[in-house]
């Protein structure tokens, strides 16, 4: 009898262990395969050709691969998130760099170090006597003068002078909008569009000669090395192994007639600030500030690209961009900013705050409740470059107008990784979407990626937010969305989040692209008008996946698992008692739109919980909509024991 009890107990333990070991992705896949089977579909049907239009030479291999099996986006996002788990730039930058390889690219460009085997490597005159400080300064010097410039030269070596100028003049026009557009006549707008199309065609002729890898690799190496060095210095300061005042005062005596030689720390364009409140104005190569509430009024001349490194160790600082390409901005170069503590304000303007525009931009903010403001191409934005913004703590506000907050343009990647805090992401409110509405604004932000249809494929835009009750607010095109051979994604790990947008958002993809929104846990709220919440339009695939929590989904039309114009729209909710509301039943909750003589695919899946529907779906129901081809399944595929195992 006792043996029977042991067997029963062991069995229960085994079941429990088994339940714990099944990843959510298995249930999701099982559910999807079951639903698709009932619709005479199979998972391998979710694929796209790559020759609906002529291929361009800017296509990223990772995007092209995912277009072949777009359901792999979920695995991709999880991999992305896992890479960002540790608060270190190295794995993140390496991962993103890997994803920026072009299709068919066999070798990647590396950074160029011109000091190897030359005199400059051997030594230089020192001004400060502190070994720790000099080690940091030597590294800064090395990267600013021996690594970044030659790498930048290599990146653009094949370009003619007029082509280089094109990048900072005409190409920039392609990424910027004008508020005056809303008042223009059709002829004026047509004329502007024709000019921009002409610019695009001109760029395409020489754009493939740009070898962005060199400058990105240089920026990455600089970031990784300096991050380590700064952490060592701050640890020493915290442990009182080093004293700031003594370190800054302990210098060599310079001769009265200086300028004969160059002393490390006294270089042109360098400033070393003390622990008090300081003010910096102008264009710099390097600033290190040891404390105080500082004010930075920065400028940058893109005609003369150079590396910029700013390190601020503490204080509530204000960073103002008085021109474009400031504040952790790499324009044909690399721009890095490390702010190690304080509640900071970043007034970025355009091409700022981790902007890699034909370059590399990196911003690390270690702690504090920070406010990031910007206009266009800001807050983790990359076009032919990489822009990464890491914020390790605090309740932060991110506010931008266009191409902001995890934006990936052609051959670009942009990323925000925010580790803790209740954060607000706001995008839009400046440039009207004159094409579609008289009263809505373009956002093109928040895990958004964009290509120039049909000339240039886009990149990868991402937000990875690990904790906190976050708010995502936008208008048109945002929140895990994409346009033309690109991938936009949001991963939000915890907290009760709210996602509000009007159109093309919350896991949406348009015109041969990929979009995904994955929210791991929390009682979340999703609201918008249409083409969202798992909506793929025109040979695109979009996935909206919410794994845990009691969630509320609101939409008006063409949402909640809607495939449009031969696209695929997938919405999956794993657990929780959820509520789904739609205004129009005819194109929501498992809808496929007939186009080009055949259908699209819309797949809706709820795997557990007592759910409420206002629409086509129902709790414990399987349904097909009168469309080509869509349906849904609310079925308890995730059993109660596995929910307990997940600690729900």
């Amino acid at each position: 009898m006792r043996c029977i009890w042991i067997v029963i107990l062991l069995s229960l333990f085994g079941i429990s262990l088994f339940a714990q070991n099944i990843p959510d992705s298995v249930y999701e896949r099982q559910g999807l395969e079951r639903l698709m089977g009932m619709m005479n579909l199979k998972l391998t049907d979710l694929t796209f050709r790559d020759d609906y239009t002529n291929k361009d030479s800017f296509r990223l291999a990772s995007v092209a691969n995912l277009m072949r099996h777009p359901y792999g986006m979920i695995e991709f996002v999880e991999l992305y998130k896992d890479t960002c788990l540790s608060l270190k730039p190295e794995p993140i930058l390496n991962f993103v760099f890997e994803q920026m390889a072009k299709e068919g690219q066999t070798a990647r460009g590396m950074m160029i170090d011109k000091s190897v085997g030359t005199e400059t490597k051997r030594g230089m005159d020192l001004f400060y006597r502190s070994n720790e400080f000099n080690r940091l300064l030597r590294k800064v010097y090395h990267y600013l003068y021996n690594v970044i410039p030659p790498s930048s030269d290599s990146a653009f070596a094949l370009l003619r002078p007029n082509e280089k100028k094109f990048l900072i003049n005409q190409f920039r026009e392609l990424l910027t909008e004008d508020t005056a557009d809303e008042h223009r006549t059709p002829e004026q707008i047509d004329s502007i569009q024709n000019i921009e199309e002409e610019y695009t065609k001109q760029f395409v002729k020489f754009g493939a000669k740009i070898r962005k890898d060199f400058i990105i690799a240089a920026g990455m190496t600089t970031t990784i090395d300096l991050f380590r060095e700064i952490n060592l210095l701050t640890s020493d300061l915290r442990a009182q192994k080093a004293d700031i005042s003594r370190m800054l005062k302990d210098t060599v005596d310079l001769p009265s007639k200086s300028g004969i030689g160059e002393f490390l720390g006294r270089n042109k364009g360098w400033i070393i600030g003390g622990p008090k409140n300081d003010s910096y104005k102008g264009e710099y190569n390097f600033i290190i500030d040891f404390g105080g509430d500082d004010r930075y009024d920065l400028t940058y001349n893109p005609e003369k690209p150079h590396g910029t490194i700013i390190i601020d160790l503490s204080g509530n600082d204000i960073y103002n961009a008085n021109s474009a390409y400031c504040i952790a901005s790499g324009c044909m170069s690399a721009g890095l900013l490390f702010d190690m503590s304080g509640d900071d304000i970043y007034n970025g303007g355009s091409f700022s705050c981790a902007s890699g525009y034909f370059g590399f931009g990196f911003l690390f903010d270690s702690s504090g409740h920070d406010k990031y403001y910007g206009d266009t191409h800001t807050q983790g934005a990359g076009t032919f470059g990489l822009g990464v913004l890491m914020d390790a703590g605090g309740n932060d506000i991110y506010s931008g107008a266009l191409y902001a907050q995890g934006f990936g343009g052609p051959e670009g990647a942009g990323l925000i990784v925010d580790y803790t805090g209740n954060d607000s992401y706001i995008a839009g409110n400046k440039y009207k979407d004159v094409l579609r509405y008289e009263d809505h604004f373009l956002s093109l932000s928040q895990g958004f990626a964009y290509g120039f249809r049909p000339y240039m494929s886009g990149g990868i835009g991402a937000i990875i937010d690990f904790a906190g009750n976050d708010s995502y607010l936008s208008d048109i095109f945002a929140q895990g969305t994409s346009y033309w051979w690109s991938l936009g994604l949001i991963y939000d790990s915890g907290g009760n989040d709210q996602y509000i947008s009007y159109q093309y958002a919350q896991g949406a993809a348009t015109h041969m692209s990929l979009g995904v929104l994955l929210d791991q846990s929390g009682n979340d709220f999703y609201r918008g008008k249409g083409l969202m919440q798992g909506c793929g339009h025109d040979y695109s695939c979009a996935i909206m996946l919410d794994r845990n929590g009691n969630d509320i989904y609101h939409a008006y039309d063409l949402s909640q698992a809607a495939g449009s114009a031969n696209g695929f729209g997938i919405q999956i909710d794993d657990r929780g008692d959820d509520a789904y509301y739609v205004m129009k039943k005819h194109n929501t909750q498992g809808f496929g739109d007939a186009r080009r003589d055949f259908g699209s695919i819309g797949l809706f899946l709820d795997l557990n919980g007592t759910d409420k529907y206002d629409g086509n779906g129902g709790d414990n129901l399987i349904w097909k909509t009168p469309s080509k081809w869509g349906g849904g399944m609310d079925w308890e595929l995730i059993k109660q024991d596995s929910i307990k195992a997940k600690g729900q």
């Binding site: 009932m38 579909l41 004159v434 008289e438 080509k628």
Partner: protein, 310 residues
């Protein structure tokens, strides 16, 4: 082949081709079309009321506008493309000779769009010209050829559509499947049944829809395919039979509700639900007590509920 050559010669000799190929488009026409076209293809919401009048104005120009529109058909802008199609369709049959004359352009995208528009115009005089480009190297042209032949509905295109059902590119097969249904080609039934197992969902599901149009004539061929090693083919066969919904289709389906494969039972019972044929009630009542699968039971209950009042 001879027919093709003679047709090409006919087109080359035609005055239309001469006008199109040799003479330039009058500048005043270019100016007028271009000017109106900016409005006609405008996407901005605040100018929407002006769009249709602009389209109508270009269409009212008639054939003189067609060569310029064909020139513009190489656009990379989807909205412009759609506008050109709409105008050409509005001009209608008068545009067909010009469009046929442009089927030998080098730009494959342009040729495929012209095929699409010819299909939309639905003029049988275009069929021979379309057939001539049905073996074009670019699959987009072949796909739009197949689609156009179905829309026009002239049986001169039957053999071409049959050939395209076996195309190596799935999108072409899909278009041919749709056209087979539109042309109601009995000879296409075996190929359409085979296509129920196509790797491309578009081809598969369009083949099913085409077969539904044949009704009882397709039941035998589908019935023979139900035990195929490719279970997906058989499952879709069940759905197709359900949508055909005739008594003979239901009798074939009946055997499938006892399959050992639960998915096959789901598909056959669901097909019976779709059938709108009261014959299914008896079969379901007999099978339900022995059924254990919750999804199959779900559909069985749906059928019982559906016919409960009857």
């Amino acid at each position: 082949m001879i027919r093709n050559i003679s047709l090409i010669l006919l087109i080359l000799a035609s005055p239309v081709y001469s006008i199109f190929a040799v003479e330039g488009i009058p500048p005043e026409i270019i100016k007028k079309v271009d000017s109106l076209f900016i409005i006609a293809s405008s996407g901005e919401v605040k100018y929407q009321k002006m769009v249709q009048p602009a389209i109508d104005s270009i269409a009212a120009l008639g054939t003189p506008a067609v060569p310029r529109l064909i020139e513009k058909y190489d656009t990379q802008d989807a909205r412009e493309r759609l506008t050109i199609n709409n105008i050409l369709v509005k001009i209608g049959k008068l545009a067909v000779p010009y469009l046929l004359g442009a089927l030998n352009l080098d730009n494959a995208e342009q040729v495929s769009r012209i095929c699409y528009t010819l299909g939309e115009i639905r003029d049988s005089s275009a069929v021979s010209g379309i057939i001539n480009v049905s073996d074009h190297y670019d699959w987009r042209v072949r796909s739009d050829c197949a689609g156009a032949l179905g829309k026009i509905g002239d049986h001169l295109g039957d053999q071409t559509v049959l050939n395209l059902l076996l195309d190596t590119v799935e999108t072409v097969r899909k278009s041919a499947a749709v056209s087979s249904g539109q042309l109601k080609m009995i000879s296409s039934i075996p190929l359409l049944v085979y296509m129920l197992g196509d790797n491309f969902y578009g081809a598969r599901l369009c083949a099913s829809e085409a077969l539904v149009k044949f009704g009882d004539a397709a039941v035998g061929a589908i019935s023979d395919s139900l035990n195929s090693a490719d279970t997906l083919l058989g499952n879709l066969g069940c759905t197709t039979l359900g949508l055909i919904g005739t008594d003979s289709a239901i009798i074939v389906l009946h055997a499938q509700i006892h399959s050992e494969n639960p998915m096959r039972r789901i598909m056959s019972v669901e097909a019976m639900y779709l059938a709108n044929n009261p014959l299914v009630c008896g079969f379901i009542e007999l099978a339900q007590p022995h059924e254990t699968d919750s999804t199959v039971l779900f559909y069985m209950n749906k059928i019982i509920d559906k016919y409960d009042s009857q």
